[in-house]
Subunit: 361 residues, 2 copies
């Protein structure tokens, strides 16, 4: 029932000791996609006994773990412009996950509760403090991986960018780059739900089709084919751009600044096109003066600064999901051992939707 059957208990008669595999940061990867040179899977023995759990803590069996681009930026070993803290060497890395409470020494959590946590160890089992731990209602009719996508980091990043910083109005002209990625698919749907006209850019014709047919985008274009971004934006935004959710930076951002309307907003969620260069080799944006004439607001953000709005976000997204107004799409990798492969997949345009690992079937 708990998935612990057959796992070697080797303590006294009341003890439960499990073998837990976990991902350790062995060496930083300054460039390129991290490999087994940098990330090591190791097996530890973990006692889930009441005696082994500190007061207030809970023992958790991980079910799903989220694989997001920001994890990459915590593995460089140097400051890359995002200023995220780096994972400590030879320590277990952390990630957003969904788990099941195995044993609780905290009145707020009971055995069997499904919980989410932005900072779970990337492991099969763990002893977790209650900070950031939140119980999911399994009767809500929402599949668990949705809590890592529409209701997790990418959904929250989309919501903060569109609703908090973007202030969309019915009829606003909204552009979203990396539109078929984890953030983009939700950002586009949220903007549509607000009555906007939404256009996305993405890297394959298959994704263009998907954005228009499954996720309700009004238009989408393949930036690998329509490489004159200025011409593409002139075509798709005859009335200019009111809101641009930037996931890529560089030349696309520069092109957008030639098509902004008065008081346009540009929330910057990330700039994945720029992550693999040092900053002096990145593409310069030459037309920032347009921000003055059009009174544009450009704002970088990290979801961690908006955690006071997480409940508002959750309520809204749960409602949309139950009403069938919000679709998710997951690329599921099986088993904790698939982490390196799943991480690498985010940098090759090979996935559609949100990348997650199913730790336990």
């Amino acid at each position: 029932m708990t998935g612990l059957e057959g796992v070697g208990g080797c303590g006294g008669e009341n003890s439960t000791v499990v073998e837990s595999r976990e991902w350790v940061m062995s060496a930083y990867a300054a460039e390129g996609v991290p490999t087994s040179d940098h990330l090591k899977l190791r097996t530890t023995k973990l006692s889930l006994d009441a005696n082994s759990i500190p007061d207030g803590h809970v023992a958790v069996e991980l079910l799903w773990i989220s694989v997001d681009p920001y994890l990459r930026t915590r593995m460089t070993g140097h400051d890359d412009g995002l200023y995220f803290s780096q994972f400590a060497l030879n320590e277990v890395i952390t990630a957003f996950g969904v788990g099941r409470v195995f044993l609780s020494k905290n009145g707020k959590f009971s055995t069997g509760d499904i919980v989410i946590n932005p900072f779970f160890p990337f492991a099969e089992y763990c002893i977790a403090p209650p900070t950031f731990l939140r119980v999911i209602d399994p009767t809500a009719g929402i599949e668990l991986p949705a809590y890592l996508s529409s209701l997790g980091v990418p959904g929250f990043a989309a919501w903060v960018g569109i609703e908090v910083l973007g202030n969309p109005k019915p009829g606003s002209n909204v552009f979203i780059s990396a539109a078929a990625g984890g953030v983009g698919i939700f950002a586009g749907q949220l903007a549509k739900l607000k009555g906007c006209r939404v256009v996305g850019s993405t890297g394959t014709d298959e994704k263009v089709k998907l954005l228009k047919e499954e996720f309700g985008y009004d238009e989408a274009f393949n930036y690998n084919k329509e490489t004159d971004f200025d011409a593409a934006l002139r075509k798709y935004f005859p009335n200019g751009i009111d809101l641009y959710l930037d996931n890529v930076g560089g030349k696309m951002l520069e092109a957008v600044l030639n098509h902004v309307n008065l008081h346009a907003r540009i929330p910057i969620c990330g700039m994945i096109s720029q992550y693999n260069q040092i900053w002096t080799e990145r593409e310069g944006v030459r037309n920032l003066l347009n921000m003055v004439g059009k009174e544009v607001r450009m704002e970088g953000y990290l979801v961690g600064s908006y955690l006071d709005r997480f409940d508002d976000f959750t309520k809204e997204m749960e409602t949309y999901t139950k009403e069938g107004k919000l679709r998710s799409k997951h690329k599921i990798y099986c088993g904790i051992e698939s982490f390196i492969e799943s991480l690498g997949s985010m940098f090759t345009s090979s996935n559609i939707g949100k990348v997650v690992i199913q730790v336990k079937p």
Copy 2:
């Protein structure tokens, strides 16, 4: 008394006709500083008779006219990124000015009232509609040119940038470029009045001295001598930058983005270093990704969008001025004929403070 004695009246016995010199946009200047090829001074005869003044209008004798960088951007004949409307060819240009009411056909204004208006014709006399016209209290003990500097466009631009968009706190680290210019001298003083630590960049050692000794800047540096902006900012901002009022753009903006603190604000007032190039030849800013990690808000603005706050601004600045807490500095050119020279002076680093023309001594 009105300055009209001796000006040729040539109508009936109750009529007053004046000769008024005025500046006309004769040809656009795409590049460089406008000359007499582009701006022509012509003399017209203007009747200031009650019969010649439309109902609700007033006849005004101009006393002071403001010369600001934005005037240049309305003379290019092409879209330059600021999107200001261009002055119409062969029409009188307009500017911010202070005048004296000669005759009024509007109950809100009386003969002898001192009035200001952001859109006076650049002329010695005019018939003005009441829109935007505001009466100045001459007993307030504030010299008239101050209404074109601390209480005019540059003061308002400084106030919007620092107080509305910049949200400075006591102890905030504030950086201001073009610090000895019309906007910079007030921006620095406003930030100091809010308890900030203020550093400015400017183009000569004389101005560095002036900023520190007369305008209360904590530090200032000569960007023509300390040409490694990154090193300069590291030196002057050991604790990083919380607020940067950008007047210049380009390399200075890029350097600032390497020293921003979490939630730094960058109101963009203008980018005078970039005005004379077409956008594809302007300097690209390569490190915008830093805006994500530091959650920086960058916002272009034009004072015209904040006119609903002009009264708040005026009250605050008048109070500071009367209390001796705010100093102005003017570079005064004499006579309407000095316009071309005064306009050109803004692009040579030769002035200190706000450029104004005294139309009538």
